[in-house]
Symmetry: D2
Subunit: 290 residues, 4 copies
């Protein structure tokens, strides 16, 4: 990244009132900040205001820490307690991926990283099976195998190990790339706003197990995929991205599984990118994606 | 329609076994029938076979009644009891539309009929409000106003009147174009396989009332519409067609209602066309749409 | 429209530099203006900045004329000569539609207006054939028949009459809803930025005549429609909206014409709405659509 | 593949006349053949008939060679000279991929093969640069580096080497996965009907070099990708599959390149699958894709 491409990204949610845009824009302009992308949104139903601003780092006379310190006063004035962030695109995002046996999402993410499209620091892949170890390591990424027993104690122990492996990297995103294990509530909480799941249906339809089988039984004409933040309630977290693919009567469950994978890969990749670029602001059960 | 464009449409479902295609194709070929479109499908899970054939009417030495009589023997031989039809595209399909106050689907169908795109015999539009009478009559179509009271007796009486008005036309399709009234079980049964509803969500998500509000609350990124056959279980009949439209955080419920209308209109028009062209074969809760 | 729903819409293009957002937002905030929607965009290649702001009319202490007068100074300061507008959503937009024989786009627009979805003041429909007169008048809209001869003089005279009929209404939009006549250069100029055409292909593919035939010959798997501003170069004006519909080998030209209509109707309706809501800013051959 | 999943795939094009379906279906039925999927299509404009049939291999009393020998007589009778094939899904398809520096399509195909979704025998990857060697070899696939000089003689020599490397494997498909070199006419001819290219635009728009730059300049609202057979005329071969992705004014060329890759990957994967499953029948400049 050349110096001129480095950005500071300010995002904030606060109660709506007049003058917010002027307040933030003036704060940035006072310091000579050059805004290269700006998004604003007001949720009229909840009276909440959202913004995301990308400022050229080299247009400001100070660094990220000073910007953060100064912006804290603005955020405070606007009534945004903890609902704001200042990020630096010069810091590569740290990512950990959790997988099971099905590799299509992992292959896709590794391909995007390998071809330079997704510029992240993939720290580790953790699998409850060994299947995806070789391809991970072929990409030069450490793979950790953590077997999950069937009994609750073994499972709890496995999750403690996963948690330790993940938290060691302090990742910006924990990606459940068809992980197939339900995170315990304490992990949902610890990783709130950072854990992204890909569910292989157009939620809220077909939550839970075997969504393609459910879709086939119901005879739907489109199948979908949903990327959402993980919360304690299964498959009910705030949705970041969704898409669908057309199917017809000639597609049995096997065909749906195959075609649906393309939706899963795209939706996860788009959702992860939006998350890592600080484009997603969560408000209750809904998201603003700038 | 020129004589060379007239078709006899044979559709059939029966238990799968070898030789069905040969049996039907030979039957048609024996009489010199010229197949212009043919669809075949086997549902491996249920062991059921489906076919639809379009034959040039002028290639056969006899008319629809004789074709029907002769094909009955083939259908019987193949074990298809009542699960087959022979239709004549030379007979214009009779349609009755049920509406309430919202006119977008009705406007769309009237426009398609008026511009010659949808060549049907629209016999009547029936509304439980008067709002859509003028536009209907401007298109030269009779409009019947049947007010629906709130109490069960008035409602039952209104449905009896609707039924009489509909059945007088012996329609090939009864279209619930945002009718907003739940058909009583006896009408679902009487009109089974002929009553098409447009539901303003991507079913099975958001069945029942106010689907756009439900979609907004859940924060989905796509909204949809579903055209399905009406059955006694609300919004659970076999699906003929579905589609979706992308929304984002800037769309409130009003925007979703507006955008969703485009999906509703398209999905209903496509579903109705498929039904009237005898392209839809129902098997349990699923449909084959050739 | 309730007073609280009335908006003043400011749109502007100007050379990019730091502080523009702050300048505009501060101008609005100084007068107590409540921004309900704001869009910003910088075209890095041309160094041009674009913005569109919706302000609640009842949040400002003055009316549209005073706002326009005061904002002129800001626009001037930012180097935006004539490249800005201030519009009032309280003034219904005046629209004139030009048609030929094919009615699907007209039916669609009349339906949207009739159902209240598109809240415009449709002043007149002008046709070079009489076919679409009755449906226009059934919606209570005046229809003018202006026959177009084949020889250049008759054509020029017809265009003079069309121009007079159109200009009498000083419309915000002149919609060529499958008008099938090429506007002469002087009309392209007189109506620059106000005349919207719907072309029945995914431009730049298949410009000119018989695009569906061209598409069929080339064997494409998607057909499309393009809504663009009319300029002197045929089918080459700035694009406002496009969409496509999937076709396959079973679709002959007739099917493509029929299916393509749905794309045409949607694309024109979306493009027209964006134009009338002052969401479209033209810059050279490209558009910014907020 | 279990014995019950093995299929013989018959595909044929011939002049249309009555009785073709019956002739083929009867031929299959006579030998007890169990048709599991059947497609028929008549191109009315050219009077040409197309069919594709999947027959369970274990339902026939003989093998592929005898089926081919016997079907030759039927094909001959129907006037299909060389325009028919009988394939065996029990024989894995041999594939060679040609690449340059851009790896997204290769990554995608390797991922699909690695995850078992695309069950092919990938014999080799040939690159005119070394960049994609390591990932190819990490998947256990041989990689050949054939440098292409700038002068015509070096280029011709390089193509001779590529041809030799390719032809050694007698592949069912030669995939130009963003190969960036124009095949010489003799290779187009030698590989006719087997060489698939992915072009990064929605053809016929933006043929030739730098299609995303062309798309940006023209201001289109959708970008696309096209999978087509390679012919001597650049980017003009019969189209197998196309798709598009929506862009808007916020997307500069870099964004288009990135987003377009997802369309390229999907379109190439779908086109290749259709080709390898013998679903594509070419007729002039058009394709039938069953």
């Amino acid at each position: 990244m050349s110096p001129s491409e480095r950005r500071f990204v300010i995002s904030l949610g606060c109660p709506d009132r007049t003058g917010i845009v002027a307040r933030i824009a003036t704060f940035i302009a006072e310091h000579g900040g050059w805004i290269v992308e700006a998004g604003y949104h007001t949720d009229i139903n909840t009276g909440w205001f959202f913004t995301r601003q990308e400022v050229r780092a080299d247009s400001l006379p100070f660094g990220i820490d000073e910007l953060r310190r100064r912006f804290a006063a603005v955020a405070d004035e606007l009534g945004s307690r903890t609902d704001w962030r200042v990020a630096d695109t010069g810091e590569r995002r740290r990512v950990v991926i959790l997988v099971s046996k099905e590799g299509h999402c992992l292959h896709d993410l590794l391909g995007r990283i390998g071809s330079g499209e997704l510029d992240v620091d993939l720290r580790a892949v953790i699998g409850n099976h060994r299947d995806l170890g070789p391809i991970t390591e072929a990409h030069g990424i450490p793979f950790h195998h953590v077997p999950f027993g069937k009994d609750p104690d073994a499972k709890a122990a496995a999750f403690r190990e996963v948690r330790k492996l993940v938290d060691d990297h302090d990742p910006n995103a924990i990606v459940l790339a068809r992980f197939m294990q339900v995170l315990p509530p304490e992990l949902c909480e610890a990783w709130a706003g950072r854990a992204l799941n890909i569910h292989h249906s157009f939620l809220p339809s077909f939550a839970g197990a075997r969504p393609y089988h459910q879709a086939y039984e119901r005879g739907v004409k489109l199948i979908g995929a949903t990327c959402h933040y993980v919360t304690a309630e299964l498959d009910a977290g705030p949705i970041v991205e969704q898409d669908v693919i057309r199917v017809d009567h000639t597609d049995d469950v096997t065909d749906m599984v195959r075609k649906g994978r393309d939706a899963e890969k795209l939706v996860l990749a788009r959702g992860l990118r939006a998350h890592l670029e600080d484009r997603v602001l969560v408000h209750g059960r809904r998201t603003v994606v700038f």
